[in-house]
Symmetry: C2
Subunit: 220 residues, 2 copies
């Protein structure tokens, strides 16, 4: 499979269209987000992330061991101590009416990167302390950009949100920029989250995991 560093014109047009469609879409239209994910998760983009991750000790180990979150029972996790990561995760999921995502089997490194990022997204919300408001999502999008180095999907979501502010709600731009820069700083300072074997950590105190990963939030 040839990996070109320069995206091709046909892909570029599709990428532009997928962002514009999301700018124009109603909130909660998951079809356009799926389309964005499909376009932005092309081999070029995953290869860029792969190249970066394999240069990190944590990323290299994760790609060798390929830890998976596996089946998650929220009711069981909600019985854990209230300071535990598992309890915090269960409360986050239940409060937001979310179900744990399982991304299916993988064969290649690039498939693993995609699956792991998909199935750990809600975990990253909890670990980083980014809530599910638009401001929390923007923090987390910038956190992803900081942590994954060359992630078209997350930078496209961040860009889409700024684009929406330009077109529909410029008064919100300051809060958006603040959220982005907070997420960026936290993501730059933290150790790499990619590849963490979260399934082994449910019983650990959330604060201890955050300290270990050097996730520092101004409000903590």
């Amino acid at each position: 499979m040839p990996i070109a560093n320069q995206p091709q014109p046909v892909w570029q047009e599709a990428a532009i269209a997928s962002v514009v469609n999301l700018v124009q879409a109603a909130d909660g239209d998951f079809g356009v987000i799926d389309k964005l994910s499909e376009v932005m998760s092309n081999p070029d983009s995953l290869q860029s992330m792969f190249n970066y991750l394999t240069d990190l000790p944590e990323g290299k180990r994760a790609l060798q061991e390929r830890p998976r979150v596996g089946a998650v029972d929220l009711q069981t996790l909600s019985q854990l101590p209230i300071d535990s990561f598992g309890y915090a995760y269960s409360q986050h999921m239940l409060a937001n009416h979310l179900k744990p995502i399982q991304a299916g089997p993988v064969e290649t490194d690039l498939q693993y990167i995609g699956a792991h990022i998909t199935e750990t997204h809600d975990i990253w919300h909890v670990i980083t302390g980014c809530n599910t408001s638009i401001f929390g999502e923007l923090q987390l999008e910038a956190f992803y950009v900081a942590q994954l180095h060359a992630t078209r999907f997350w930078l496209a979501l961040l860009t889409k949100n700024l684009f929406k502010a330009v077109v529909y709600d410029i008064e919100i731009s300051g809060q958006y920029m603040e959220a982005i820069c907070q997420g960026w700083q936290i993501g730059k300072q933290a150790k790499p989250l990619f590849g963490t074997p979260w399934q082994q950590l449910w019983q650990q105190p959330l604060s201890a995991i955050r300290a270990e990963l050097e996730i520092e939030r101004a409000e903590d």
Copy 2:
């Protein structure tokens, strides 16, 4: 003139098209930047900035006194002491083959806002220490967003640059984010630059003006 807080659909479509055209345009195509400026400088957008600026003591005074940069002779400024603002400005303009922009007469507050921002752009480059590389431009775009509160034009330029990174050069995204967050922080911390009577300050030391405006750069 009715000022609607919600942009109208026809304007929204034009705004989206003007950003996309810039994403697709070749570097240095000033026609598409002029078109972006025309679309983003609509009365709604200028009114949002006006509302913000009149709430600031510096902004209110500037709108009353309407200081203008006036005619600038780069050769004369280049004879000033080398630590002066005027000397630094002249060197910036000469090194970048730029000519001072004069924005013409104004009658209304909104016209003044547009004209003042246009004719002080190169001055803001010098005062903030943002160079004319893409990284310096991104820093300055974020600085504008921090200082002008609700500026569609500058947020659109920033968004366009992130959009280009998504589509054409994702490897650059970290440097772009770093530049944006630096510019945002400097802009948030600094006193308002809008309305500064620059034409009275050519002979002042650049460092003294920066200190007065509380512009602090990590590398200073």
